[in-house]
Symmetry: C2
Subunit: 261 residues, 2 copies
């Protein structure tokens, strides 16, 4: 097992930003930050005391681990232009199989922190699950050791499971946030303060910390309250898109409320 003391980042997006900063705070050296534009490479490299580079040929050999945190579309191309073979490397993508790295290194794996990241909002990594997958037991140990510097919740998750996890995350985070956005707009349109909804948003999230969401489903759809549903659809009569969304989700709640899918 090799201890990972020094890492380099390929990518400077939301995840790369928060992960590199968390590693830096945990005492790990950040050697280089690669991005396609000097501005974003530099913005991230500077607070990390790292070198900013925009050419993959400038990647040096000093890092104990190369973390590829780029968009899924870009990953294969970046790998193809990476100048070394058999360097310890991980990607951070939920929906990409570990296997895509196999041609480039015998020590390859996945380091997937399950959280939503923005460039400008720091997150506390201690409670974020970090999902590890790796090509060997020794490399698993190295990655686990690194992950434990950040989080108390490190798990081994294989590629198929990680895909399910990523998809579940899209539903409980991205789609949920979209529902918040719809609520926000409705409030604005009727001169209502979004603050009114905040205790409800928090309680709804809080409830599923302790309960199976299906068992605490409330609202007109689950109690088949057609009167309320028709009124609400009528209220949305000038917004065909929202009407469709309302019908669609209500129908699924009604149909699936008695069991699973």
């Amino acid at each position: 097992m090799t201890t990972i003391n020094q890492v380099s980042f390929i990518g400077a997006g939301n995840l790369a930003t928060q992960l590199s900063k968390a590693l830096f705070r945990a005492g790990v050296s950040i050697n280089q930050v690669y991005s396609r534009t000097m501005e974003s490479a530099h913005d991230l490299a500077k607070p990390l005391n790292a070198q900013a580079i925009t050419d993959l040929q400038q990647v040096n050999e000093q890092a104990d681990l190369y973390i590829f945190a780029v968009k899924d579309d870009a990953l294969l191309q970046v790998l193809a232009n990476f100048p070394y073979r058999n360097k310890p490397m991980v990607h951070t993508a939920g929906s990409v199989s570990m296997q895509v790295l196999a041609d480039f290194s015998s020590s390859h794996g996945v380091f997937y922190p399950l959280q939503t990241f923005s460039k400008n909002k720091a997150v506390d990594f201690r409670s974020i699950p970090i999902c590890i997958e790796s090509s060997s037991d020794a490399f698993t140990t190295s990655l686990t050791q690194l992950a434990l510097k950040l989080s108390g919740d490190v798990r081994y998750v294989n590629s198929t499971q990680r895909q399910a996890l990523h998809l579940a995350a899209v539903f409980v985070c991205n789609f949920v946030n979209y529902m918040y956005a719809v609520g926000y707009d409705l409030m604005q349109q009727h001169d209502l303060d979004f603050d009114l909804l905040k205790p409800l948003i928090q309680e709804t999230a809080q409830k599923v910390m302790k309960h199976n969401p299906r068992e605490v489903q409330t609202g007109p759809a689950v109690r088949s309250d057609e009167k309320v549903m028709n009124k609400q659809l009528d209220f949305l009569k000038n917004n065909e898109q929202l009407q469709e969304l309302y019908k669609f989700v209500s129908k699924q709640i009604k149909e699936t409320s008695k069991g699973g899918f």
Copy 2:
């Protein structure tokens, strides 16, 4: 202005249960609890030291306020069978106009606590917004005084606004909970612990406490990452319903991410 010291509940569902218990804890006497079945009337009346009744003709005249907390479908029928006229009365329904009470009492109004209620989960009313509407200034004052015994956030909201609010609540609570349920099922199907998603669920809710949801939208749809979206749709190939939901919400996120609706 009349101070409301004693109330009776028509209805013993989730909202009636939590609201009556909160009023009781705040020192308000609960006189009677009406429900169609003696079991549910009794279950609620007992801890409140109230009388359980199943016949509206047994409603006595002693209460300072009659709170109608029944399903929207049942409200008109219950009102028609209510034995008194001109008693101070409110309903608690998000999507029902105050006007439906006008024929039954000159002191009528709405007392709408904006939260999701379950029978068995106590909620802390202090941070729950209570939305008041009323037929007169004096009655508004009485209702506001009562509401302030429970919550620090009491607001005057008219019937149209309340309908918008209720609809927004369906999106940010009921539909959000359904997204949690989808996530739950996906995790179960792949032997993954739902706990893995909990920090993400909390962070997603927490983010919109301080940010406009549209500005913190993340995920494959908002960044038009077709590669990930196609993979996720493929992953759902045996579940047509979820595939449809995925396509539908992703499309709306893409279309509306640049502005409002």
